[in-house]
Assembly symmetry: C2
Homo-oligomer: 496 residues x 2
């Protein structure tokens, strides 16, 4: 089935809207009964919503008592796979690691550990090569030389305390425990921190670091908080090699949508799940005895409790009665800063399977990095790239000519296809994985996590640990369902 | 309540058998009906069994259809807490880390992340000090000097390929994927590997390394496989500081038994769990249509499926019909090599909160390490030590005089109390956390994991990733329950 999501370009057919996705759910609604009081309603079928729906569905009283609502035609939210000519392209969330506890536990549960493969695997006989395209022209390096630059740059960047940042984030899964130290560093941008250490870096190392920051944040380095990069560093064990291993190494051969389907089917098999896709929410009303959700098509649905997984940048598009807290409204109106364009290319040069390009301050496309990520069944290289959104605004071709030009800035690729999901303009995302502006985390994270009445807010965008990651979505979904199971008295309350 | 487990000594009262434990379950049996056919029987209420029982109980048909059988009077298996004068002593499994995915997910689910505290926290105003007691006499070092020795020694030890061991264990949660490289290194002992690199180490570094190996394995270094230490190193991210952070840093303020109780009560709240404690198993018979478990008191219980969490070193003490595979019988008769005595001391010198002692080749007690681990409510230091079992054989005082002497070898402590669980002689453990002899892992791990008919074997002792750890127990319990849920058609089978 094709989803309405995603954009595809190839030289023969030009631009096409919509991409195949096994996560499109048919029929689009099941067991939805008007007037029924559900034990719980879950809004959003991304990983946060899927985990919450499953954990609730297996514990509630029998009889389709959990309702999952989703605006899109598919599961997965900001993580979904399009399989084209037998090859899986990850349109959003991709990489996982065994040090990301929540997602790893799900891979372990569904026996998918054997599906992991290394994105950085090289083509047999072709040595891994990294090309820098910085201000001073192109420079080709070995993987070892790049790793040394990366290590120097990232370690200098994160080592704010002579202890690799450990005093600022000693416990990266508990974001509120070290408030004082953290708040201080949360006030400066990644660009300012680069500026503090630039005398200790070569020009290449400095540009590489800025390229890494842009790739990580989907934002100019002066708009993202320094602590956002420090957080990844701390979560990955305060080490530059581990940083890469956690962030961009291990992906699922079968595609993330397979994992999402396993969770969804598991929830369905409980016999307790109802669902409704292509059903965006207009209003959530908990001013009366029953909590009532109204879809944009006017359908009302009632529940005792609700899990809201609506992303940060679109949270103000849903009407709440009583309204959201002032702090939530303010946080959502500021939003997170990641408007990254993650684009895939299939190119007719197999050798580029073993190639990475890092760019900074080049024209025309502000592409920060492109990475060999696989070999398609036709024997072509699959590249994945990360760009600033600003470069791809407007145009009747959805920016494909600019993406193409940005790729060609690296190399005169013979491009077979390009594809991407325009997360920044997607009405149900308005941004890519959450990365915070200066001061945003210390000001808003706790407030974003706070429940209001019978509504629990669960999103990767404000997870304790891996916010912006698949792991964070699952953390949030599990915790929201745990709260509701306690409220429904299905799980005993804590007694310490 | 007091458990029958554990031993306590204090100068006034001498030796006492049994220790208080909140994990003792009263009444000792619930909803056990003779003649009933259970959906699943789980043998063992350690973490593997608790996770399996919970995951099954919330998914089976209603009506107490899961039966949990346990030989002891308490939950927790080789992980349990004794709270004495308001202070929690961990008698077995203790430390956890967010990079241990299965246990971290449970801490996250039950909202226990805030309960974590740092074992290596120092007393205010008292600098952390490490004392080496090696062949050349005592040597006091700063934490930094010790960390440098540790880093040099462990890195040299593990760096067998110039790539920190990554080519031997690139994917430490998939133990069977790199068989060739792994099998080669699995044939040598930790002692042999020390011998290979000894020219690159100072005498202190060499003794420290041997002390670390004995502490980790509860075994002389020539009896444990080199790959066992390499596995910890790989799982912790190929880094000596991370190794310490994963292995011995973060523990639960509330005690592990609180986590075990949360899981147990959660399973009970499903309304589907029956249980029977103090009920060791005599025989498991699946030769007829129904699987029948016979307890040592003659009670028969029938089930469709079974999770067997009986530890490796006691697996041959249960009679199976048809018999266990030849390979399982052989593995269990060889057993794992860890006979560590983990002992606690409360000593009247608060300053030793900030102290660690490392020993090698000293008499009279073969104590490899003692670590300041907390401050009791009376303001005394709590020390935890790891010793070779051989030093504590025999004697009418359960070895307390030898443990005392071993502590006093470090320092003339004024000892208020000593306590430990004699895992090596415990009939339901016959060993401490599993550490393998040379070649054991490559020869037996896969066979130990294999199901036989309707029996699934789940134990930390043969977990894919963190074997011998709490995380590994939970990994195994979750996977066994996932298999049975698929067999019971509660969860759809994989479709990739």
């Amino acid at each position: 089935m094709d989803s309405k999501d995603g954009l595809h370009y190839d030289p023969e057919s030009g631009v096409r809207e919509g991409l195949p996705c096994d996560g499109v759910i048919i029929p689009s609604a099941l067991h939805v009964e008007p007037g029924k009081l559900y034990d719980a309603i879950v809004i959003g079928a991304g990983y946060a919503g899927l985990i919450a729906a499953r954990d609730l569905a297996v514990r509630v009283t029998e009889g389709h008592k959990v309702l999952l609502l989703e605006a899109r035609d598919r599961i997965g939210g900001r993580t979904w796979t399009s399989v084209i000519e037998g090859y899986p392209y990850e349109m959003g969330g991709t990489w996982v690691h065994w040090g990301q506890p929540h997602v790893w536990t799900e891979l372990s549960r569904y026996n998918l550990v054997d599906q992991l493969e290394d994105s950085a695997e090289t083509l047999p006989g072709v040595t891994h090569k990294i090309s820098y395209y910085f201000e001073h022209g192109r420079n080709d390096l070995s993987a070892e030389e790049d790793a040394q630059n990366m290590n120097t740059a990232l370690t200098e960047f994160c080592n704010v305390d002579g202890q690799l940042g450990k005093t600022v984030m000693p416990f990266p899964h508990k974001p509120f425990t070290e408030a004082e130290q953290f708040t201080k560093w949360d006030r400066i941008s990644a660009a300012e921190r680069v500026n503090q250490i630039k005398d200790r870096l070569t020009p290449d190392q400095q540009s590489l670091l800025l390229s890494i920051i842009v790739t990580a944040s989907g934002s100019p380095a002066d708009q993202v908080a320094f602590t956002e990069i420090l957080r990844w560093w701390a979560l990955a064990g305060y080490d530059s090699q581990a940083y890469m291993d956690y962030i961009i190494k291990w992906k699922l051969k079968c595609g993330q949508t397979r994992l999402a389907l396993r969770i969804f089917r598991d929830a369905l098999a409980s016999g307790n799940l109802s669902y409704r896709f292509s059903s965006p929410v207009h209003q959530i009303d908990q001013s009366r005895q029953q909590l009532v959700v109204t879809a944009k098509d006017g359908q009302h649905m009632s529940g005792q409790y609700l899990v809201c997984t609506v992303p940060l940048n679109t949270l103000n598009d849903v009407k709440f009665n009583p309204p959201l807290s002032h702090s939530k409204v303010l946080a959502a109106s500021r939003g997170h800063v990641n408007l990254c364009v993650k684009a895939h290319a299939e190119v007719e040069t197999a050798d580029h399977r073993s190639w990475w390009g890092m760019a900074y301050n080049r024209k025309p496309g502000i592409m920060a990095g492109a990475f060999g990520d696989g070999l398609t069944p036709s024997g072509n290289a699959h590249l994945v790239s990360f760009s600033l959104n600003d470069a791809f605004q407007g145009g009747s071709d959805h920016g494909f000519s600019q993406i193409k030009a940005a790729y060609e800035e690296f190399h005169p690729f013979k491009i077979k296809r390009l594809l991407y999901h325009p997360w920044a303009t997607d009405p149900y995302a308005k941004g890519t994985w959450a990365m915070y502006a200066l001061g945003f985390g210390s000001r808003f994270k706790r407030d974003l996590q706070a429940s209001q009445g019978r509504i629990h807010f669960a999103s990767a965008d404000w997870a304790d640990g891996w916010h912006g990651f698949i792991d964070g979505a699952m953390e949030q979904g599990m915790r929201a369902s745990a709260k509701i199971l306690t409220e429904l008295q299905k799980v005993p309350a804590a007694r310490l």
